[in-house]
């Protein structure tokens, strides 16, 4: 009963801190997805391009290598990497830890978004492309008029799911006290010397965020299937 009381107290006493944490978590996630989409589109186009030097597709190879490195190393490692790399590249300029955290998360998310876009495009039946090309449309026209409008239905829900994932993964930013929900947990923990209670509080907040977003995605998915 003591625990429940403490949980309640933390909510009432530290609500402004927690709210700040929610703000930072959502902001970091939004930045990561927004830039992730830009990076992802570029990577996906690189992988789909037919530009060749001899037998090699250099653009595709670079994009594939990037995607693999990002996806097969831990996000936490990448966060550390940019945390230390940024001051080395810009010595004397204090860009702040939020910058390096947001950068690492964007670059990370870009690799996943690229895969989402690529698989969304690949999932469109090959016959659609053939039909469009047989009518005389060129590659770009086919992509724009026939493939992408169908791919978007596969891509959009997956992108939203990626956002839900990032909201949870952004908790790693607390390693650098970036001010997200998990950072606030650490702060409250050190003020109150309570371990479990602030963890439950943070857990509830993450759950509410994740659950709401997932339900919203599911609703979106249903709507897209209907039309």
């Amino acid at each position: 009963m003591n625990i429940l009381m403490n949980v309640f107290k933390i909510f009432t006493k530290y609500w402004d801190m927690l709210l700040e944490g929610v703000g930072m978590t959502l902001m970091l996630s939004a930045i990561a997805v927004a830039f992730g989409i830009v990076i992802g589109i570029v990577l996906a186009l690189m992988r789909l391009s037919n530009f060749k030097i001899g037998k090699v597709k250099p653009l595709g190879a670079i994009a594939t290598a990037y995607t693999e490195v990002i996806r097969d190393t831990p996000l936490l490692l990448q966060l550390y990497f940019f945390y230390f790399l940024i001051p080395m590249i810009f010595p004397g300029v204090d860009l702040g830890k939020i910058f390096s955290v947001a950068l690492a998360m964007s670059l990370n998310s870009g690799a996943y978004v690229a895969e989402i876009i690529r698989s969304g495009i690949m999932a469109v039946d090959k016959g659609q492309t053939e039909a469009a090309r047989s009518l005389g449309l060129n590659y770009q026209q086919t992509l724009r008029k026939v493939v992408l409008p169908q791919a978007i239905k596969n891509i959009l829900p997956a992108l939203c799911n990626e956002f839900v994932t990032i909201v949870k993964e952004s908790s790693l930013a607390s390693t650098f006290f970036a001010g997200d929900i998990m950072t606030q947990y650490k702060t409250i923990n050190s003020i109150t010397y309570l371990a479990i209670e602030p963890l439950i509080v943070s857990g509830i907040i993450y759950f509410v965020l994740g659950f709401t977003l997932s339900k919203a995605v599911a609703a979106l998915e249903r709507r897209m299937k209907n039309d």
């Binding site: 039946d125 659609q128 039909a131 469009a132 090309r133 005389g136 449309l137 026939v146 169908q150």
Partner: protein
């Protein structure tokens, strides 16, 4: 100028190690109706798909209206605009209405204004009995209706040749007739047509010439009477024996 709309010289196509076409040379005249028959894996579809370069030949030449479309630097898209193609699995565009399926290519490629294309779509749909489906989406159509739509979609580009790749193979039996009727009408109107089909009766009825393809070559060719009535090649005999009885 010859009267040939399509000339194929020593066409080879391999997929990796697998040789699918092993040297096909053939001419198709303007207005001619050619059926391509033969066992699965014999190269029929690949041959047809090479004609509009959906498959790029490994070697050989294809002349369309006297122009070598296999030559380097040729804009294939421009030539494809003059060749219609109909697929086994229809490949209608599910995100467009029936009308948009028809008008998209002619308007996008500058052949028609939107108003002209809309008018044409209505006319074309009436000829295949789909006028009232104009504003429906393809998921509301039956297989036979989808294939009729696919045919008029190709016709909207006013092609000089129509290529049919097993147009009735994916259809329920009761829908085969309505699609064949549309093709028959087209052929009667003088459209140059190459059709890969397993409908032997239909091939016999509409064709000027029949190609029997097996093992990547044109094993036998001739008039429908010759091929179906008195085949010479033992493989043709064997194939027709299995199909007809």
């Amino acid at each position: 100028m010859t009267n040939n709309i399509l000339e194929v010289y020593d066409l080879h196509k391999s997929f990796g190690e697998l040789q699918v076409l092993k040297g096909v040379t053939e001419h198709i005249a303007k207005g001619e109706v050619v059926s391509v028959i033969g066992p699965s894996g014999g190269g029929k579809s690949t041959f047809l798909r090479c004609l509009n370069l959906l498959e790029v030949p490994t070697s050989g030449q294809i002349l369309f209206d006297g122009i070598d479309i296999t030559a380097k630097g040729v804009n294939v898209d421009l030539h494809r605009q003059r060749m219609g193609m109909v697929f086994q699995h229809f490949n209608v565009f599910p995100h467009m209405t029936v009308g948009q399926n028809i008008t998209m290519a002619p308007t996008l490629l500058g052949k028609k204004s939107q108003a002209e294309a809309d008018e044409m779509a209505k006319e074309l749909l009436s000829t295949v009995g789909l006028y009232e489906k104009l504003n429906e989406y393809p998921n509301r159509l039956s297989g036979g209706q989808k294939q009729r739509l696919a045919i008029v979609r190709a016709l909207a580009m006013e092609p000089e040749v129509m290529l049919f790749d097993e147009p009735t193979s994916a259809l329920d039996p009761e829908m085969v007739g309505e699609v064949l009727a549309v093709i028959k009408n087209l052929v009667k109107g003088g459209m140059t047509t190459v059709i890969v089909t397993h409908e032997m009766g239909f091939a016999r009825e509409i064709s000027d010439r029949v190609f029997f393809m097996d093992g990547g070559i044109l094993a036998e060719k001739g008039s429908p009477e010759e091929i179906f009535g008195n085949p010479q090649n033992p493989r043709t005999k064997e194939f027709l024996g299995k199909v007809l009885y």
